[in-house]
Symmetry: C2
Subunit: 231 residues, 2 copies
């Protein structure tokens, strides 16, 4: 019989808390600095009032620092837990795609739910089956058990590529189902090699060649496609 110490770190957080930590973690990576009430509210689809209340509670649990009217910043414990939610999410996405043939544009919504309910035991089994993968089906990095996050070191957004560039698609950083389906149809998927055949001055539309096919991609789309230049 072993003695298990129940610390703050061990305790399981509520679904809502996990959602907040994940959302705030992601927002911190964008607007590095403090995260605003309204941004969290938008991300989670709740009112600012709800965020305001919830954030106060998370502060008392020492998951984040909260300065009223100023914003919020995750503390180490909050970062750790946020990363773990993302780890579960991305491993589930990859597992569903690889082993249950669930198309890329559908894995997100399934994982969005299951990330809160798959036990660590189960997650680690999936991780092992998948061979301790580094990236999910959209090329997003999967934090390891210790929270270490792999990177696409040399990747740039396709919107910053130049005419003539040959590059490999390494990430699509958006999970809109319609967009993902469209890209899939165009042959724009992770691992594929493309050549930038032209960029319109007018609005930045990027024309790419994928094998025999060509495809035109708007600036907004290109900002979500990350590529590794080969040349």
């Amino acid at each position: 019989m072993s003695i298990i110490k129940i610390t703050d770190e061990t305790k399981k957080e509520s679904i809502s808390t996990e959602d907040y930590l994940k959302a705030i973690y992601k927002l911190m990576n964008v607007s590095s600095g403090s995260v605003k009430t309204q941004d969290i509210a938008n991300k989670l689809g709740v009112t600012s009032a709800a965020v305001s209340e919830m954030v106060k509670k998370l502060a008392t649990k020492e998951l984040l620092d909260y300065i009223p009217y100023k914003g919020v910043r995750l503390l180490p414990e909050g970062i750790k837990k946020g990363k773990l939610v993302i780890r579960r999410h991305r491993l589930i996405e990859l597992y569903l795609h690889e082993y249950l043939d669930i198309p890329r544009n559908m894995v997100h919504e399934e994982a969005e739910v299951l990330e809160h309910f798959a036990s660590d035991y189960l997650i680690n089994k999936m991780d092992k089956k998948l061979g301790f993968p580094q990236f999910d089906p959209h090329g997003a990095p999967i934090p390891d058990k210790n929270g270490i996050i792999p990177t696409h070191k040399t990747a740039i957004p396709l919107s910053e590529s130049k005419k003539g560039d040959v590059c490999k698609i390494v990430r699509v950083s958006n999970f809109d189902s319609e967009l993902l389906e469209h890209l899939e149809n165009e042959g724009i998927t992770i691992g594929v090699l493309i050549t930038v055949s032209g960029i319109l001055e007018f609005d930045g539309t990027v024309q790419v060649r994928i094998g025999e096919k060509t495809s035109s991609l708007s600036t907004k789309i290109c900002q979500n496609i990350w590529v590794d230049p080969i040349n």
Copy 2:
């Protein structure tokens, strides 16, 4: 664009409601007739007061008939939904056991949670991968999409076998983790052939031979082991 009719049948029930329907469904199969408040409370680990309240709500949704002080009886809609929860549970158990190497004595608790969150889409993918199986890792029948439940037609509890019987183990109808681990260690698992080598008059202890090994099983355990006589 298609028109989707949202009927009572389509609506997703709360986790709690699903737990109640599943519990009541199982209890109806035991004490065929009406199910008592306290039995539900015991099964779910809540107070009778909680059951009393909840059952009233389920009655207004026409999932069951409720006569105060008398008990509860599922209506067709309740039966259908109860079966679907059980279907999800058992398919998940089987999937976890077959594809993620999760031992039999651990699949129950994982499935207990996931049964509420795996989408129908996902469940049907698993069903297909598994080849539309009829029984879960404990030999329990898996209702199909239409609620049809396969049976072990000729099975009897091991507690009713006779000395000299040769039979195949088809079901262990208990999910106590310790018991399951014990049976696994004794070689008593689904599909295995055993010979009843003796039964003690004193307390009904059954002695069985499994290949070279022998094992003694209490009456209580034998009531949970279902076998198909071969001879």
